[in-house]
């Protein structure tokens, strides 16, 4: 088996978004560390775990530092949390300086520079694993799009600000230009990849579209590891209701 040292990553999205993040992920990994002395091929999955100024963040940082856990805290600071800009979210020099207060070595990187982010995370991971310590990385970027389909960010920020970042600072364009400069990419390859990918996505959507959704039984599974009797009873009652009033229920959910 592969002997890979264990390292876990917790990803905080959007600088200060509104979802609560438990650093459940950190606690999970830590407990796994205790259980598995053979730290082989187990790789932590990075899960998007947004939020920031919730108490969770402070608890997690402090625990990680005190318990000397090899955890990467990656913050993608994109300047906004829905309509709230960073300067209404915190004072002081962003996120990176907060790590120092917890005794966590912290880095700030240009989040729109793919190579810089890669290099930073690689170095941080090495440090975390070899020195058994948490590392905080703040990747600075800018949220070009709206927060969600229900959001119109023109209501709280200027069009030329968005335009600037979209055109002058786009990270994908930057990486592409660098690849082109190295002679590893060109516009023909770009067009071809775009066309292929588009077709792949469309094909996948066409396959998925007419598919039925999950069967009704899945409404009751995974609440617990096994289905307790009161849920079995509720399932029974629901099924008889559905039988009596089929028109109330979507037809793409198989019973």
């Amino acid at each position: 088996m592969d002997q890979k040292p264990l390292c876990s990553a917790t990803y905080f999205g959007d600088g200060a978004t509104s979802e609560v993040c438990p650093t459940l992920f950190f606690y999970l990994v830590y407990s796994l560390e205790l259980l598995f002395t053979d730290l082989s091929s187990w790789r932590a999955e990075v899960d998007e775990a947004p939020v920031f100024w919730q108490g969770d963040f402070h608890g997690a940082m402090n625990f990680a530092a005190v318990l000397e856990a090899p955890v990467l805290f990656i913050c993608r600071n994109n300047g906004y949390a829905i309509s709230t800009p960073a300067h209404e979210q915190f004072k002081g020099d962003g996120v990176v300086c907060k790590g120092q207060a917890y005794g966590v070595r912290s880095f700030r990187v240009d989040g729109n520079d793919a190579l810089a982010v890669y290099a930073t995370v690689k170095a941080a991971r090495k440090m975390a694993v070899e020195e058994s310590r948490p590392i905080l990385i703040e990747a600075l970027t800018y949220r070009v799009g709206h927060h969600s389909t229900s959001d119109d960010s023109g209501k709280y920020r200027k069009g030329d600000e968005m335009h600037h970042w979209k055109t002058m600072r786009d990270p994908v364009v930057r990486l592409r230009r660098w690849l082109e400069g190295e002679g590893w990419w060109d516009s023909d390859a770009d067009q071809q990849l775009r066309a292929e990918t588009r077709n792949e996505v469309i094909a996948a959507m066409q396959r998925a579209g007419p598919r039925m959704k999950q069967p009704l039984a899945n409404l009751f599974t995974d609440v617990y590891d096994t289905i307790p009797s009161h849920l079995r009873q509720q399932e029974k009652e629901l099924r008889s209701t559905v039988a009596r009033h089929r028109q109330d229920y979507p037809f793409d959910v198989p019973l």
């Binding site: 200060a16 709230t84 979210q89 629901l238 209701t241 009596r244």
Partner: protein, 375 residues
């Protein structure tokens, strides 16, 4: 606010008076929201009350907040993204009108939003905190339970945070999934010291919110998000309150009593309509305040009809319907002709794709009405 005051820390600017005892029961004269009047103002008081505007729920909430901010210089509205109007537009225009020191965004931390609000209220201000979705209220639960609810009690009434009102959108919206659909009212109904209020419509929302804000106790006010745009009603333009801890009989009946709150009442009304076609006369009650609830009115109704059905979106087990059922069974046992019926959400996390199956639908309610009547 400019000049010297603006350079003071925010806390100093807000705490303009320090009073250990707060007297919230005060007579005030209120300015009506003149810019929202569409018809000519008649002269008499009663005629004035008759002037209404067709408003949806978020506009009615907006009007209530406008009224409070206009009439009380020590009232503040704050929360995530309230500055630009809020994700449901309830605070539209307020920051522009009253300024950033009265209507302001907070950092993303519900625990601190509540802690800050409790502190603000304890210093004699009206603190109107917005929690962006009721699903996010849980980090603030410790502040609500262990601070706000116990503030008056633990100080022997030397201090209180009665000026605190917490508003949060709750309930199913069709596509909200686990974290944008929850109805957490039952958690709060278990906490002595706070009040829980839930309006069913725009006119109810304005009156109940004004009453909640002015009530000398901390209030958690859940707004049915499904109704923000969908519900439209004639809402009086003037300043009015509706009484807390007072349920309302929406329709009289004689065969069965139905009790609900918020958006669920719309479905219950439809079920009542269909039941009446089959000769079943339903009495429908909007509880409005969940704690302290209007037990007397519900008891009187059940003593008349002999049957009770409670319906709510929140999961069945431990939902507030359980409390009503237990309480009415205790007080009306010999009068009951059938067990108390509860038509509620399932005991699962609120699902995404399976939402239509999870919800207590009109037909589920109707089936339960008929089962109760036939018991």
């Amino acid at each position: 606010m400019g000049g010297r005051r603006a350079s003071l820390p925010l806390v100093s600017r807000l705490c303009t008076s320090v009073k250990p005892r707060n007297n919230w029961v005060q007579k005030r004269s209120f300015i009506t929201a003149k810019d929202l009047v569409v018809e000519e103002q008649p002269s008499g008081e009663e005629e004035k009350r008759a002037v209404t505007n067709k408003l949806n729920l978020f506009s009615a909430v907006n009007q209530a907040l406008l009224t409070v901010l206009e009439s009380d210089p020590k009232s503040y509205v704050f929360g995530e993204d309230v500055g630009f109007g809020g994700v449901f537009r309830c605070t539209t225009g307020l920051r522009d009108r009253f300024g950033k020191h009265r209507v302001f965004n907070t950092p993303l931390c519900e625990q601190a939003i509540l802690g800050f609000g409790i502190g603000l209220a304890s210093m004699g201000n009206r603190a109107i905190a917005e929690i962006q979705f009721a699903d996010y209220i849980f980090p603030a639960l410790d502040q609500i339970v262990n601070e706000a609810a116990k503030y008056r009690y633990r100080s022997g009434n030397l201090f209180n945070c009665g000026g605190l009102t917490v508003r949060a959108p709750y309930g199913a919206v069709g596509h909200g999934g686990h974290y944008h659909s929850q109805s957490p009212e039952a958690f709060f109904c278990h906490v002595p010291g706070i009040k829980v209020v839930i309006p069913r419509s725009p006119a109810q929302a304005k009156g109940l919110l004004l009453a909640s804000i002015r009530d000398p106790n901390p209030v958690v006010f859940f707004e049915p998000k499904m109704l923000y745009r969908m519900a439209v009603e004639e809402v009086p333009v003037d300043d009015y309150t509706l009484p807390l801890s007072s349920a309302e009989v929406m329709r009289k009946g004689s065969d069965i009593t139905l009790v609900g709150w918020g958006a669920q009442l719309t479905l219950m009304e439809q079920a009542c309509d269909e039941a009446s076609k089959e000769g079943i006369s339903c009495e429908l009650i909007d509880l409005r305040t969940l704690i302290p609830w209007d037990k007397e009115l519900v008891e009187a109704s059940v003593n008349k009809t002999g049957r009770l059905l409670v319906s709510h979106e929140a999961p069945l087990t431990g939902g507030f319907g359980a409390e009503i059922a237990a309480s009415i069974t205790e007080s009306c046992f010999l009068r009951l002709e059938a067990p108390v019926s509860r038509v509620c959400g399932l005991d699962t996390p609120f699902p995404l794709v399976f939402e239509p199956f999870y919800m207590p639908t009109k037909n589920k309610i109707l089936d339960a009405i008929k089962a109760s009547v036939k018991f």
